[in-house]
């Protein structure tokens, strides 16, 4: 909170000439510009960009309030993380407490188990929901800065942090339209079938060392199995909309996702071979330790094998989430917006909740498979709790996802298939052989 921060210099030059152009602007006594505080007033009476405000934004009480709010949000997120991360130490005690309560009431012991599972499921569900709010705002800011824009600025005060919340309220209030040509039931069911597997697939994902909702022995297979189900929902949405563009989008999505699932799964096989387990926590633990006490033994740093696997998994994950270099199923310039053209309001937003959920899932998987999970990059940094490292690594991976989306142009449908079948898949097979050689040596 330094007072002398020369905050956003980038947006300053553009509004200035625009404001100066309309000739000798009559110098009206400008009211002190109010950022977002009463948006209606700002729009009707003062039609200018608050440049002088940006010269020293800390002078504005609203800006300070906004910064405080952002700090509160980040603090809240950290506290939630701490609650999840640090409470896990007392997990057994909480479970014992629930068990004792159930026993004192004379209920069957199954209710305690049920309540415990429900609690964990609720926490995981909230990770996905809050991730939606956070990731959309972050993506809008990143995309704006990549394109030399500013992105959301007004709602909430500090860099428009509340934009997604207001968007969510707007989407809830919008009319829910089902087209006449649609297959009513399938149309209504599709968003649910897209979003439900994301929540289920998060069960074995570890949010730190020994920190997951369910320690499943076949975790990796489980995650891939459930992440694949969403395609059915996308195909259903495309077909049931009764619209040619949606149908084409659905078909493209089916072809793309089913194809890219193969290199995605095969690129992880070297990791499984090196770790010798399908359990996500065991994979993270297999990367503990350092080479020469300096370089962490993460699978990313295994020569050649690790890097190839990482790149293939990253590329295939971007393709699985239908994001831009691979957004053929919803290519705006060709298909209006593909399989979700005929959706509106909350049903539409559920598709995006699922998309961002998959981005987060892929980020956590990348962090677990290749970046050592909750292990610190330097042994000296071990005092920082593992969930902070996990979250930091996952968010770094997520940044790569967002960055990619706004940097690369879209591939053509045939290029997309060629790239998958003739490049990624053979290399993922070759990488399995390389990993075998590595293990033999």
């Amino acid at each position: 909170m330094t007072e002398a921060t020369p905050t956003p210099p980038a947006p300053k030059p553009s509004p200035a000439p625009a404001a100066a152009k309309p000739a000798p602007a009559p110098k009206i006594a400008m009211p002190t510009p109010v950022l977002n505080h009463s948006a209606g007033k700002l729009l009707t009476t003062t039609r200018y960009w608050p440049t002088e405000l940006w010269a020293n934004p800390w002078a504005s009480p609203n800006y300070r309030r906004g910064a405080l709010m952002l700090a509160a949000i980040i603090g809240g997120v950290l506290l939630t993380g701490a609650a999840v991360g640090e409470l896990s130490r007392w997990g057994d005690k909480i479970y014992a407490l629930i068990g004792a309560f159930v026993a004192s009431q004379g209920w069957p012991q199954n209710t305690a188990e049920g309540a415990w599972i429900l609690l964990k499921a609720l926490i995981v569900l909230h990770v996905i929901l809050i991730n939606g709010l956070w990731a959309i705002w972050w993506e809008r800011k990143i995309s704006a800065h990549i394109q030399s824009r500013v992105g959301p600025t007004y709602s909430g005060g500090f860099h428009g942090w509340a934009q997604t919340i207001f968007d969510g309220i707007k989407l809830l209030l919008k009319e829910d339209i089902t087209p006449d040509a649609a297959d009513k039931w399938v149309h209504a069911l599709a968003p649910g079938i897209v979003v439900a597997p994301v929540v289920v697939a998060f069960a074995p994902v570890s949010f730190g060392t020994q920190l997951s909702a369910a320690n499943i022995d076949i975790g990796v297979l489980y995650v891939f199995a459930f992440a694949g189900i969403s395609v059915i929902g996308i195909v259903m949405a495309g077909w049931a909309s009764g619209n040619k563009y949606s149908l084409l989008g659905g078909l493209r999505a089916a072809a793309q996702i089913v194809s890219y699932e193969l290199p995605r799964a095969f690129s992880v096989v070297p990791v499984l071979m090196l770790a010798g387990s399908l359990n996500l926590e065991a994979i993270a633990l297999a990367q503990a330790g350092y080479w020469h006490g300096l370089v962490p033994r993460w699978f990313l740093f295994y020569p050649v094998v690790g890097q190839i696997a990482f790149l293939i998994f990253l590329i295939a994950s971007v393709a699985e989430t239908n994001r831009t270099p691979f957004d053929i199923p919803e290519a705006e310039s060709e298909l209006v917006s593909g399989f979700h053209t005929e959706y509106s309001g909350m049903k539409w937003s559920i598709f995006f909740l699922a998309e961002y959920g998959y981005v987060l899932l892929a980020s956590f998987l990348l962090a677990t498979f290749f970046l050592g999970g909750g292990a610190p990059p330097l042994a000296q940094l071990g005092f920082i709790p593992s969930w902070i490292w996990m979250l930091a690594k996952a968010l770094l991976m997520m940044f790569i996802f967002l960055w990619t989306r706004w940097t690369f142009p879209r591939l053509r449908a045939d290029q997309l298939m060629d790239f998958n079948w003739k490049f990624l898949l053979p290399w993922s097979f070759a990488n399995i052989a390389l990993a075998g050689a590595y293990l033999l040596l």
Partner: protein, 170 residues
Amino acid sequence: MIEQLVFYSLAAVAVLSALGVVTMKNSVHSALMLGLALAAVAGVFALLGADFLFAGQVLIYVSGIAVLIMFVVMLLGRTYDLHLRQVNNQWLAGLLICGITFSGLWRVIGLFSESRAHSAPVPGTRLLGRLLMSDYALPFELISLILMASLLGAVYFSRSERSQSSSTNP
């Protein structure tokens, strides 16, 4: 008690959706029902403690085969083709075969319904992999050979058809 409840509800879903596959008029609905039936069978696997089989069933059948079937149905069918007649003229013979098969199965179920597994199932992906690579290596390789042959066959037929059609209408 809960186990039985879960089993019977999964079984009901599997049977009802399997019935839906053959009785639904719209072939896309049939394909969706097929996905549901396969998922219910996966649930039964999970209930029995066969976790690898469960994940494999979901991974390959629900999110692979069912999607491909939907893909083909949507790609080939025009909207007026989607509504098919469900019964042909041989329905009496079909019903008889079904009845005989069912009564045979019923007898077999009656024979084995009292026998129990010797031990509780343990999650054994490692064991499964070891067995596939040692005791069952030959059947495993034979199956992969058959799959490879069918794959090559599919490629060959689709390719020859395309080259013919391209030569006939230039």
